[in-house]
Subunit: 385 residues, 2 copies
Amino acid sequence: MQNKYRLMSPGPTPIPPEVSAAGALPIIHHRTPEFGEVFTRVNENLKRVFLTENDIFTYAASGTGSFEGALQNLFSPGDRVLVVNNGNFGGRWVKMSRAFGLEVTELTYEWGQKADNDEVAEALAADPQIKGAICVLSETSTGTVNDIRGFAKATENVLTIVDAVSGLGACELRTDEWGVDVVVAGSQKALMTPPGLGFVSVSERAWRAHEEARLPRYYFDWTAARKAYRKDPPQTPWTPAVSVIIQLDLALQQILEEGLENVLERHVLLGRAARAGVKGMGLRLFGPDEDMNTAVTAAWVPEGIDGKQLVRMVFREHGIQVAGGQGPMEGKIFRIGHCGYFDAYDIIATVAAIELALESLGHPVELGKGVGAAQRVFSKSGVAA
Amino acid sequence: MQNKYRLMSPGPTPIPPEVSAAGALPIIHHRTPEFGEVFTRVNENLKRVFLTENDIFTYAASGTGSFEGALQNLFSPGDRVLVVNNGNFGGRWVKMSRAFGLEVTELTYEWGQKADNDEVAEALAADPQIKGAICVLSETSTGTVNDIRGFAKATENVLTIVDAVSGLGACELRTDEWGVDVVVAGSQKALMTPPGLGFVSVSERAWRAHEEARLPRYYFDWTAARKAYRKDPPQTPWTPAVSVIIQLDLALQQILEEGLENVLERHVLLGRAARAGVKGMGLRLFGPDEDMNTAVTAAWVPEGIDGKQLVRMVFREHGIQVAGGQGPMEGKIFRIGHCGYFDAYDIIATVAAIELALESLGHPVELGKGVGAAQRVFSKSGVAA
């Protein structure tokens, strides 16, 4: 039987039909009033989603590129940074910081564990030379969401830098209220837009650090970006990814029409239902069973089952693209992405497909048990019958 | 009267309807066999357009980002480079090289003048410490195309680095035959694809330089890219701009179906017709009247006319987006872009609109004279009746 393609990975994620359709519009020039109107609205609406009054810059780049830009704009060679590493992306920021000649104090946690913000505070107290602290909001590789409110408090005397690539728009992140200096994000996760755009928000304190920062930079230079953004209408210093920005404009409008708080609530339910489904079919969650894990749900592949084969079968025979484990978790866990354009029936279909795939791989599973558990989450919430 | 929107700027450029339509396809995951098939074909077809067997990497970035990557991957702080500066983009590479701590020998030419490759050879002979030489193929700011065959010969003992952002696919560039080590390009010009992708090709000699290069880098790191590209199917190290790459795939197929040599021939005619049209209406060309100027045609705004007003009027009242002058040429010249998805009637419409706009600005112009001159170019070539 033919299956529809269902993208349930933690990035890129499916995009709403209106956002898709806008991808087919003719290309317009980026220095026109027409594009200026779109770009002005995008910049305003990004602030509403980042919950900040800070400058936000949009790059033609992935989140990794924007993150590189943040390091280049904030630091000088030899500067000390603290990096929380509890997954693939935390690990990436350690490597990137070292590649740029920064002295890294690495706080390592097992994959699936949350950062301990008391330890963060202790590490900073022990080394007053540390200038900035880096933490991932939603660690896509494990599904674990770090407590960024606590992290921002623990790091209040240094630059607080947060990778919110898969988190922004799925997990609570109150940039200004919590005092996060720099937030890096990407278009292809909860912002329901194709991949290709990276974002960075820059606080006043980050601007002051920028003035001292001597790492070489050009493409991601914040001063160049600010100068272009202050034109009327605002511009980017280099050619922007016009078509993806036009798509982002529609996606942001949809998010704000649903209401950011409602969007975050929906993600709480999606995560809760995904975890209930996984547990309902008798599998063990990877990472904490917490309501804040709203972007990705990770679970251990049951003993005796090849995790790569499971993920492949769910895709090949059921059309549903979940993700396998990364790095040390390859073949051991699978991950269901639900940050962005997802609803109750995406979760239900995914849980159903995993049940069916486990059955055909010979794993004992009672069909419908995981699905029922997911349904009950939605039923209790009154969201879906 | 309502006008259609006609994008006649030198980037971004209009894209074929099939390429537009593909922008509305659902997002697929980048680590699937389906995307792998597209990406493998894109990588092969890029080599056919770059005319190289060298590695080519595709970034989520503008051409400026890819160029930054080239500097980071080739050089160490204090390294000496020669940069030809005969326009806005040559000037940008001077600034970027300095931002990365390189010692720049700048060969400056007036905007609209071509680089003198004898002077390039002399400058290199005078300073054997110079490691690399940078030149723009098609200087988008002036329409002038530099002689890269001669430049590659003059720089054969150092790394030859070419900015082909607006040139690739519009101007002759035989990467391997001419011995160009590094070619940087972008998706949004003659490659008939939305903006958002940057490219770089890397010769064996460039790889050897890369091994010694100590500038800090991560996002654009060629070693990371090569490692990911060697997987089966090939991947990018970070999330690629999936939707734009799927569009690029179709655009490259169209280019190769038309045949690269035919595409280049078409651009020769487009340039010739645009120049004939401009001269036919009594205006003076900016830059040399040469068949190699195939990507952009620039002309002086006639005395007594406000160039910004002319460009605005052609856009507002005729729907045709030509470009004004950049930097020192602001208000003094206008530019017609014709690199990419353009045909005879795009040129004819543009020339006609400029005639009409000049007339309504009170400039003496005989309607149809420029158009007739453009027509004759096509008529003589047998391309259009």
